[in-house]
């Protein structure tokens, strides 16, 4: 059975999946066994994908509130505690999409499929342990770019057969 951990977290998990039910990204902020994770993923896809259009973006799943939003062909889906603010979570999802968009430039599902590790890095800069870490868009992008620049310079450096 699903047990809510003692700590009160903003978010328990974040899933990205496509309309066809393919998982694109998973982030767990509470420790779960693989079996539980699979169950959650299956349930989420079942529930969210079967929602008719023009219904509200919130669902109840066991003890958790599910907040989901569809962006093009991709569903963003977060699980949070009942007393949390659903509208705010909806905006967290939106902010994440904005960040992805800024990084990839007009982001589409393919960007996330092929560069999912980047999507994870962005998420890690944005959310830490289920809490919003960085609310300033500039700062998130900044710290990512710093790391990326380093990556670029390193790659250049490594590819040079000089040494």
């Amino acid at each position: 059975m699903w047990t809510v951990p003692p700590s009160s977290k903003q978010m328990h998990f974040l899933l990205l999946f496509s309309r066809q039910g393919k998982l694109r990204l998973q982030k767990w902020f509470t420790p779960l066994t693989d079996r539980e994770k699979k169950k959650v993923i299956r349930d989420m896809m079942l529930m969210v994908l079967s929602r008719p259009p023009r219904t509200c973006n919130f669902l109840q799943w066991r003890d958790l509130k599910i907040v989901y939003k569809r962006y093009a062909s991709l569903y963003f889906c977060a699980g949070l505690e009942d007393q949390d603010n659903e509208l705010l979570t909806l905006e967290i999802l939106h902010r994440y999409v904005e960040l992805l968009d800024k990084y990839f430039g007009n982001v589409c599902e393919l960007d996330i499929i092929f560069n999912f590790e980047k999507a994870y890095f962005i998420l890690d800069e944005f959310l830490m342990g289920g809490e919003v870490l960085e609310t300033s868009r500039v700062a998130v992008a900044g710290s990512l770019e710093e790391a990326d620049t380093l990556q670029e310079t390193m790659e250049e450096y490594m590819s040079r057969p000089a040494y």
Partner: protein, 1073 residues
């Protein structure tokens, strides 16, 4: 660092353009990952995908285990492994390599390594221990990015036991020059606080520094910790209230840098975090709340932009306003705000509005009335989530009058819902309100039938349990009991006669128990018929063996008469060789008992289920053994919860003084004390074993005011006529019109639809919201249980002013005892109570005071004494009647024999034109004496006065001086000795005085209340004695208390206060706690 930034700027365009190429051609063409992804998308069946992935995993395995793989290739392999795991295939062989990559790789390999670790392992994985060293190394690195990565991974997952190893390093990072490092360090500490709060206790002051950090991001991060710490201990951070308010003020007025704006709203996450903190700080604290009213108002005003994020802030703001100490102006605005949410056409807002309404409704039921039409509409909303939320709301406003409609709506929803969790939850709610407010037997049984059939076997086990308990224990009226049981039997017989295959097992168990126990009540029912019906259940394939056991038990109770015995025999034959041992045992029992009716009669007497079976739950037969063991030095027994607590405390070595959080602090005590009729309620609230008081304590949680409990242990309480109420409420605007805050007129919100459906809805509304308008819950903070209220109302006699006057402290009682007039002044053991001595100025006669003035006048007692010029106190002896001239104040004092004893203040009970009655109680060693003074204030003598005093809970015996005539302006004194018959928190003595004045016969009624403590006498027990007797005193009561903080030693101060004010005694503690 600056050249890195420069490089960033120059590299940025090329980076972005590279990455944003359609389909990420760059990656897909070259990398193996791209090939894998494309390979998978081309596949059509799940089976093919599986084959491909298995191939991929095999090649990965080769690659990672080969010593020739470079870190760069390893990184690439790791990404593919992550991908495979995401698709649901296990790649556990890569886990150790992920750790290795994080350890040895260059900076960008490391990053992927850390990511893989975070994705693969969870907090409890044993491999994480191998990561500790890596993290340690990276934390010490001079490379910022490495430090960042280490902090990120620490905040996501870190083995709890290893926290001390890295804690100093993380702590050090709080002073780092880069704000991003500081921010991450704070969040890492937050994570530590969550999983091991005691380990970060020593850095609390550093959190304060983080709160004052010049970078708003760091400050924001520290709020997470503060929210958590304040949740755990709101009292400890009251001093920060003003700071939080200031921060919020600055944020709201846009003082933060622009890049914290989100859709032109200044730092919404920050605002919401602050609002949450404020709501905890302001809860039940008027002073703290008053500081924040301004900024809350400001937040409400500022949030005007039509965007989700402003609504999120508004929602949090409304919640805060309703949590903190109420302010009518803000409440009105908040109510308006909720109104806007609820009527919004945006479905998400509507949902949030309903949620807010559900939250608020506990405090302000009238708000539901304003939105009744919207709520009705939401009940029929096509979106099931909205419906569900609406039912939740209705659940909160259920009362005896609308219960049928609400239950009907809930069952309707249950029929549609397919989600198990929802079903279980809702079924529990239906059962709860049905039991509480059931209007009649038939309805109750039928509703419970539906609950059992819908709930199926997932139903919480306590529902059938409490249902059966209700049936068996019944309530006061034997007749009602019989009717309910008969009805249940009838209903179950007809159910069993129909289709039984679909009935859930739990329901069948309930049915068989009820039939076994009560089918004899229906005398015209042949037991053999019931037996046959039950046999049918045994023969069904889907009946579980547990249910079969229940059925066999029922049969055992039933089998009498030849026909049943033969049925029983055949059943026994079938089951006595069952594989299930329990079943086999029951079958054998049935066989034996069906043959021996005498034995059966003794074992299972008819209609005795309700009589309690005597069980020595205290295991007193072991007392000798226990005391022997204790004497031999054994540790006393501790109940499991206490042991656990201690264990937890031992583990978490507490470095701070115990600051306990408190539901009852002294200020709230005062409130309750004021509300209750006697000053003793405070102490009884602390003692906690009175049901009345504990109800009051928990009332903040759920119960609505005015809610009537119809159905419960106390019995089936008489019901109001619902029809009449419905008629009254037919016109929703008149009876249900809200009178208090936020009084937006109804019509404004009522949609003008076509008249007919509108009418229907109106009817539904009136039946749903009935009983809400009548309550006037002006005070939001304190709520008393309705039962208690009703009781009180009854208890008040028309002439009694005792409730008011008792609060005043009277100078006749020594000052030390009268320090706090809300706490009891009459504790018998308090030696400091100086008996009234005749040399003191005696108190002015209470009886002279006009009742309407009582409060003010009592407060100014000293001045009254002077102005009245009472010079010499009167030495009243027993039965002495004093004559005084009319314009002089006659004073009442105790008879001399009693004046040396501790006694309560003399309070006026009632008065009319001709006489006044007042009373006090005197503490004697063996009993309490009630002394009643009757002052004849009329012009003529009173004749034939007869006083009759009685009490339900007390033995009252006249100890002295039956009344005769009372002369003009004289005082007659009567004494009654009181002993406890059955203990309650507040005793009440009812009295009736009949007399003949100059003209006619008159009767006066009055009541006098005494707290339980008046009857309690100290018992001297040494710790050793207590140790041997501890089993008999196993009445454990736990109570959290706020410590008195102004002294030097809070714990001792608090204990002293408790000892002094409440008569509690501290028992020596043996061993450490």
């Amino acid at each position: 660092m600056s050249d890195v930034v420069e490089k960033t700027l120059t590299a940025l365009p090329s980076l972005l353009s590279l990455d944003s190429q359609p389909g990420s051609a760059k990656l897909s063409s070259t990398s193996k990952l791209g090939a894998l992804i494309r390979g998978i998308t081309e596949l059509t069946s799940k089976h093919e995908e599986e084959k491909l992935i298995q191939r991929e995993l095999a090649s990965l395995k080769d690659q990672v285990s080969s010593p020739n793989t470079s870190m760069r290739q390893m990184k690439e392999a790791m990404v593919r492994a992550i991908y495979c795991e995401m698709l649901g295939y296990e790649a556990s062989f890569t886990y150790i390599h992920a750790i290795k990559l994080a350890q040895q790789g260059s900076i960008l390999d490391k990053r992927v390594g850390y990511l893989a670790v975070c994705l693969f392992l969870n907090e409890n994985h044993e491999l994480l221990l191998l990561l500790v060293n890596t993290v340690l190394k990276d934390l010490q690195s001079t490379n910022l990015i490495e430090v960042c990565m280490a902090l990120t991974v620490v905040s996501q997952m870190f083995p709890k036991d290893m926290i001390p190893a890295i804690l100093p390093l993380v702590e050090e990072k709080l002073n780092h020059s880069k704000e991003i490092i500081r921010r991450k360090a704070v969040l890492a500490l937050y994570k530590f606080y969550l999983i091991a709060p005691n380990q970060v206790q020593h850095i609390h002051n550093k959190f304060r520094k983080a709160l004052c950090d010049k970078d708003p991001g760091v400050m924001f991060a520290s709020l997470h910790i503060y929210l958590q710490m304040i949740k755990d201990n709101p009292e400890g951070y009251k001093d920060l209230t003003a700071s939080f308010v200031t921060i919020l003020k600055q944020v709201v007025s846009g003082k933060l840098p622009m890049d914290f704006n989100y859709h032109s709203v200044p730092a919404p996450w920050l605002q919401i975090q602050l609002l949450r903190i404020l709501s905890i700080l302001g809860k039940n604290d008027q002073n703290a709340s008053e500081i924040m009213y301004d900024v809350l108002d400001e937040s409400l005003k500022r949030a005007e932009i039509n965007h989700n994020i402003t609504y999120a802030i508004l929602y949090e703001c409304v919640k805060c306003i309703y949590t903190v100490y109420p302010n009518s102006d803000l409440l009105e605005k908040a109510a308006k705000c909720i109104g806007n949410f609820v009527i919004s056409s945006k479905i998400n807002l509507k949902y949030l509005g309903l949620k807010a309404l559900t939250f608020v409704i506990q405090q302000d039921p009238k708000l539901a009335l304003q939105h009744q039409m919207t709520i009705i509409e939401c009940l029929d909303h096509p979106d099931i989530i909205i419906k569900r939320e609406t039912l939740e709301l209705l659940f909160r406003i259920t009362n005896a009058q609308n219960v049928t409609v609400i239950v009907e709506k809930m069952l309707e929803f249950l029929n549609q819902s397919k989600d198990d969790h929802t079903t279980i939850d809702l079924v529990g709610k239906v059962a709860e309100i049905a039991e509480k407010y059931a209007p009649e037997n038939k309805w109750f049984i039928e509703t419970m039938n539906t609950v059992f059939s819908l709930g199926g076997d997932m139903i919480q086990p306590d529902i059938p349990n409490s249902f059966l308990k209700l049936l068996s224990e019944g309530f006061d009226s034997e007749e009602e009991n019989r009717k309910l049981r008969l009805f249940a039997v009838d209903s179950y017989i007809s159910l069993l006669e129909g289709e039984t295959r679909k009935l859930p097992q739990r329901f069948l168990q309930v049915i068989s128990w009820v039939l076994g126990e009560y089918s004899q009540l229906r005398t015209d029912l042949d037991p053999a018929r019931v037996m046959t019906l039950l046999t049918k259940l045994l023969d069904m394939k889907q009946t579980s063996s547990e249910t079969k056991t229940w059925v066999l038990m029922a049969m055992t109770k039933l089998c009498s008469g030849e026909a049943s015995i033969s049925i029983a025999q055949s059943v026994c034959d079938d089951h006595s060789s069952s594989m299930d041992t329990v079943l086999r045992q029951k079958a054998h029992e049935l066989q034996l008992l069906s043959q021996d009716s005498a034995l059966r009669g003794r074992l299972l007497p008819l209609h005795r289920a309700s009589e309690p079976i005597e069980v020595d739950s205290s295991l007193s037969f072991l007392d000798a053994f226990v005391s022997e063991a204790l004497a031999a030095g054994a540790a006393p027994y501790k109940p499991p919860h206490q042991r656990q607590e201690e264990l937890a405390q031992e583990k978490a070595l507490s470095l701070e003084p115990y600051a306990l959080s408190l539901p009852i602090n002294m200020s709230s005590c005062n409130l309750t004390g004021r509300q209750s009729p006697t000053p003793m309620s405070v102490s009884s609230g602390l003692s906690g074993d009175s049901t009345e008081l504990s109800l009051k304590g928990s009332s903040t949680a759920l119960k609505l005011e005015g809610v009537k409990r119809v159905w419960g242990k106390e019995g089936y309480l008489s019901k109001k006529d619902p029809v009449e109420e419905v008629v009254q409420a037919e016109n929703p605007s008149s009876p249900s019109q809200p009178t208090g805050a936020g009084g937006t007129p109804n019509d404004k919100l009522t949609p003008r639809a076509t008249p007919e459906p509108d009418h229907e809805k109106q009817q539904l509304a009136s039946s749903l919201f009935i009983g809400l308008g009548s309550q006037s819950s002006v005070c939001l903070m304190e709520k008393s249980d309705p039962m208690v209220q009703r009781f009180r109302r009854k208890a008040k006699t028309p002439n009694s002013f005792s409730g008011v006057t008792e609060r005043g402290s009277v100078s006749s009682i020594s000052t030390s005892a009268a320090v706090d007039n809300l706490l009891c002044t009459n504790i018998p053991e308090s030696a400091s109570v100086v008996p009234e001595v005749t040399h003191e100025p005696s108190p002015p006669s209470k009886t002279e005071l006009d009742a309407s003035l009582s409060v003010d006048i009592i407060d100014s007692t000293p001045s009254l004494v002077q102005s009245n010029g009472v010079e010499t106190p009167l030495d009243l002896t027993e039965n002495e009647v004093t004559d005084k001239s009319k314009d002089e104040c006659s004073s009442i004092s105790l008879p001399a024999k009693l004046s040396g004893l501790a006694h309560s203040e003399i309070t006026s009970l009632c008065s009319n034109q001709s006489m006044e009655v007042s009373a006090c109680h005197v503490h004697k060693d063996d009993c309490v004496l009630l002394v009643i003074f009757i002052l004849n204030s009329s012009d003529s003598d009173i004749e034939n006065a007869r006083l009759h005093v009685s009490s339900e809970q007390l033995e009252v015996s006249l100890s002295e001086s039956p009344l005769q005539d009372i002369a003009k302006d004289a005082i007659a004194v009567c004494q009654y000795s009181l002993t406890v018959r059955s203990p309650v928190v507040h005793f009440e003595v009812l009295g009736m005085l009949s007399y003949q004045s100059s003209l006619d016969n008159q009767e006066v009624e009055f009541s006098y209340k005494l707290p339980l403590t008046s009857f309690i006498r100290p018992l001297e027990v040494s710790t050793e004695q207590y140790g041997t007797m501890w089993l008999t005193f196993s009445n454990d009561t736990k109570q959290n208390l706020a410590l008195v903080t102004d002294g030097q030693d809070p714990l001792t101060d608090t204990l002293d206060l408790l000892k002094k004010k409440l008569g509690l005694h501290v028992v020596e503690m043996i061993g450490k706690l």
